[in-house]
Symmetry: C2
Subunit: 253 residues, 2 copies
């Protein structure tokens, strides 16, 4: 089987422009060019493209992929591990960013949070103050120290009010769940309310939410006896009931 740029592009889900670019940077060259200069790709190129796209999915840069797919000596596994470190660092950065953005939003909405707001406005004022006195190279050092520590955590950013709400939600979940259990129906409004409460409760400590993770956790409440014991301490069967309610809530399976 032989392919032109567009055929191969359709097959692999990339544009013909991309294939020309890959040729240009030398990461994937066609098997040959026909008499009219058309790029012709064969099966080995299809395989190689799949490899390239696989690594691209993982977010590696084309230069790195080039080494991996073109040099069999190259340690792809090591490259992946290094890549993972980069991704983890990136996520930490992102988490911090999100945390700051959220603090700013609540601050502009007037929801107390003044301590965090000060972190920034204070930083601004400090700079201007320094300006009044003198300016010099050491100011940049101060500026550096002022940047927020990257190991900030969502949990530690909870305000007292947020923490109180977290506790209250947990309690409401318990009572709602106990009520719902009486109906015996995990599809009942009460049970679904419990699932929703559980989600909101979770989200205080989970930096992200996904239905799959929620459903997975619910299943674990049943599989892990320690969790089961915790939920069943009021009424046996509560953990299973909660799991069922959550699985319905999350459209699981």
């Amino acid at each position: 089987m032989e392919y032109t740029v567009q055929k191969l592009g359709e097959l692999a889900g990339v544009s013909s422009r991309t294939l020309r670019y890959y040729d240009e940077i030398g990461i994937l060259k066609p098997a040959r060019k026909n008499s009219s200069g058309y790029r012709i790709y064969g099966k080995p190129e299809v395989d190689k493209l799949q490899q390239i796209l696989f690594y691209r999915e993982l977010g590696l840069e084309l230069e790195g992929i080039k080494k991996i797919v073109n040099d069999p000596q190259f340690d792809g596994s090591a490259a992946l591990k290094q890549h993972r470190e980069q991704l983890l660092a990136k996520r930490q950065q992102l988490d911090l960013l999100i945390s700051n953005v959220e603090n700013t939003i609540s601050a502009t909405e007037g929801k107390s949070q003044m301590a965090d707001k000060d972190k920034f406005t204070g930083f601004k004022e400090k700079l201007i103050e320094d300006n009044e006195n003198q300016y010099g190279s050491e100011i940049r050092g101060k500026y550096g120290d002022e940047t927020i520590d990257a190991s900030n955590a969502k949990m530690m950013n909870m305000t007292e009010g947020q923490y109180a709400e977290f506790i209250r939600l947990g309690e409401e979940l318990q009572t709602t769940l106990a009520e719902a259990l009486k109906t015996g129906d995990p599809e009942s409004p009460a049970a679904q309310k419990a699932a929703k409460l559980h989600k909101r409760w979770l989200m205080f400590t989970w930096p992200k939410y996904s239905k799959e993770a929620h459903a997975g956790l619910a299943q674990m409440y049943v599989d892990d006896e320690r969790f089961t014991a915790y939920y069943d301490k009021g009424q046996p069967g509560t953990a299973k009931f909660l799991r069922d309610a959550i699985h319905i809530y999350t459209n699981f399976k």
Copy 2:
């Protein structure tokens, strides 16, 4: 106080090139230019620059910042909220990426994981298979379906082996903690081992780890009676002990 590009740059921690660029794209123009064409900035410009840098810290694009700082009509809060959504989506993407990279690493290390590995190699083979039969526009549709669902979660990516390890770790934590409690010393090697086990246990369900969050969670084990009850069910005081051990482990305060 008046500043030239470099002076202002030092003051605010940006390069003079950046200031010229900001002038160029019209986000921050100097108060005036002197007879030699030098850019001269005054105090209002310093303030504005601080605003710009603040939003830049939050990861907004300069075009968006331009609107916020130049147009008082513009709803900055709404822009921030939209930005937050983007960041959250980005994080979800990133989490998925990390999860896939990690699966690939364990797969290449031969750690079973075949189900996940197949997700990719199977995807490649399917493509080639389709190729053998026919190729056409509908293949792109199949390809699209084959792309991994973006709402994938770390928890659901656990293999059976990982899950077993998770359970085992939890049990080891319990026994280690019970042993350590006998020493009564949260600094003891056993207690520190428990803290470390707790961290490893946590990391199965936490997509990121930070000492602050770990310490915060430990504190919550004491503050929240439901957690306390869980940990104290063997021996009263276990929750407090674990908190102390973790606070030492994380160098808290």
